[in-house]
Symmetry: C2
Subunit: 102 residues, 2 copies
DNA sequence: GGCTGGTATCAGCGCCGGGTGATGTGACAG
DNA sequence: CTGTCACATCACCCGGCGCTGATACCAGCC
């Protein structure tokens, strides 16, 4: 299983605010106003981060009148979890492989 | 299940070179010289990244004469995989939760 | 129509972090 | 003891990214 973890996806999730957004969206679908209340961040800042999450395919948008709802895509997160699980499994299997000193 | 993903750990893994190091170490235990050959990066650069990985608890060092072997810690990666899996599961469970427009 | 509220985009700033060169340290070989 | 090799640490530069204020856009309400 040659699963290399997707660097771009991790970099998207490596920001504290973005990870907080993802954690919040894992519980319920929210719109920007809710996220402003929950995180305390400015609207512009959140919109920028949501843009990054959207372009990375982590979240989906669902317009509802003047509001825009953001929903997390579980499969993307699950895929990432699987990649890390594979990596851990691979490391466990090859635990005693050691290349000789040159 | 209040599993919030560890931001610091993700930020450590969010660098392409560090992720490459982790991927290589998942296959076999290597020393710095091997990593220089495999990645093509400078020794100083690698040493800096290995320092970060070591301080984050992602890798272990095993001195062997003049050489220093680096070994990946599978449980750390597995724990991260579990956190993401929980997050994905939580998102699937609460897929239809939607907070009302304010 | 004009107005208001919810979001997105743009331009700019500041700063953290990755890359590099020089240097230090410690271990083997001779 | 001296030289060499493996590795770590330090100081520095510089580009990218997160944050912000201003502004544009769009949908509903009057």
């Amino acid at each position: 299983m040659m699963t290399s973890v997707d660097t771009d996806l991790i970099r998207v999730l490596a920001d504290p605010l973005r990870l907080q957004i993802v954690t919040l969206l894992a519980r319920e679908t929210l719109c920007t106003t809710h996220l402003v209340e929950e995180t305390g961040a400015r609207q512009t800042n959140l919109s920028n981060h949501l843009r990054v999450l959207r372009e990375a395919g982590v979240v989906e948008t669902e317009p509802c009148g003047r509001f825009t709802y953001y929903k997390l895509r579980p499969d993307v997160i699950a895929q990432l979890a699987g990649q890390f699980a594979d990596l851990a499994e691979q490391a466990r299997t090859a635990a005693d492989n050691k290349r000789a000193c040159p």
